[in-house]
């Protein structure tokens, strides 16, 4: 019997979007509590907050989760709204452009986070 299945894609994206949302939902309140209980928010306190390796790593993961979440969200929007006959190329170009842009943002975030010493 001939069997026509789905493309077996979409589940990983959907899962990653949920996972990144959970990480952001956990990180943000914890970060806010840390920031608000660290004392007056002046340069020295803010600098001290990002001094520890754990905060650097946690912030890096937050930014990575946010960018992944945003990229998947954009992908959903492109699939929803760009479906003319010649839009496949445009969609691919947009996926690529935003992937490059967001990866650049991630590298930039690493540079900023690890410049705190």
């Amino acid at each position: 019997m001939r069997h026509v299945g789905g493309s077996h894609r979409g589940l990983d994206m959907w899962l990653l979007q949920r996972a990144s949302a959970i990480y952001m939902a956990l990180f943000l309140p914890i970060f806010l509590i840390c920031a608000l209980t660290a004392g007056p928010l002046d340069y020295a306190v803010w600098h001290g907050l990002f001094d520890s390796l754990s905060m650097k790593v946690a912030s890096f993961l937050f930014i990575a989760a946010m960018l992944a979440h945003a990229w998947i969200g954009l992908r959903e929007i492109f699939i929803d709204y760009l479906h003319c006959a010649s839009c496949t190329l445009l969609r691919l170009a947009l996926y690529f452009a935003f992937a490059v842009l967001y990866l650049a943002c991630l590298v930039w975030a690493v540079d900023i986070l690890w410049s705190v010493r």
Binding site: H3, G5, S7, H8, G10, L11, L15, I79, H83
Partner: protein, 232 residues
């Protein structure tokens, strides 16, 4: 009572219009379908719409009333803002007036193979289920395929040819959840697709309009959970 009803006859070549009707009608205890029948009887016999059982079982009189998809036969006239605006279900082609072309909707329904697939030899009497297994099907089998949910879903509006829509996905899950069915894996294979299933963003328009009070979003969530379980 005042009505504004969408009129379109493709054979005439004229563009669609909205026609106003003034009907002397006591709305007490009456439904939208009663008013449509009264308009057809007394004011305009050319007005076309589908109806059959007039009690919310056959699912043939799905229309858009004041911006919401409803079954005309179970929607009370009382409490509706006048003029009552009645349009065909959104996004499906109009055959005439309030009659839409359901071909795309049925195509998606057929695609999920809405029947039991079990290759075992047929038993003497019937394939048995425990009461608990049977209870899993409640909230799934009641769908009457009126298309109110699917045509209220923006994901269906944007990708009507690829996204299966809430009604077909609910029916897909109805057979996935059936312990007598042996084709769960193939069904999940078919559904695992960015378009067929994952266009659903869970905005729950389908739940809001379902005249039978069903929850396609929950069924779609259960399909996704099964896909995750299978993948891990």
């Amino acid at each position: 009572m005042r009505f504004r009803i969408y009129r379109y006859d493709p054979e005439s070549g004229a563009a669609p219009t909205v026609q106003e009707y003034e009907l002397d009608f006591d709305p007490k205890g009456k439904k939208v379908l009663d008013a449509l029948i009264a308009i057809k009887d007394t004011l305009d016999e050319s007005l076309s719409f589908r109806r059959s059982c007039r009690e919310g079982v056959c699912g043939s009189d799905g229309v858009n009333v004041n911006g919401t998809n409803v079954l005309a036969c179970v929607t009370p006239l009382e409490g509706l803002k006048q003029p009552i605006e009645i349009r065909p279900l959104p996004r499906l082609g109009v055959i005439r007036d309030l009659i839409v072309d359901m071909a795309q909707f049925y195509q998606h329904y057929r695609a999920v193979k809405p029947y039991l697939i079990n290759l075992d030899p047929e038993p003497e009497n019937e394939r048995l289920q425990s009461p608990e297994e049977r209870a899993e099907l409640d909230g799934l089998w009641e769908c009457i395929l009126c298309a109110c949910c699917t045509t209220s879903c923006p994901s269906f509006w944007w990708n009507p040819d690829k996204f299966l829509g809430p009604a077909a996905l609910l029916q897909g899950y109805r057979f996935i959840a059936d312990t007598r069915d042996q084709s769960t894996n193939e069904r999940l294979d078919f559904l695992e697709d960015p378009y067929r299933l994952f266009r659903c963003h869970g905005i729950m328009n389908c739940v809001e309009v379902c005249p039978k009070g069903l929850n396609p979003t929950a069924a779609i969530g259960k399909i996704k959970s099964l896909l995750v379980k299978r993948a891990l």
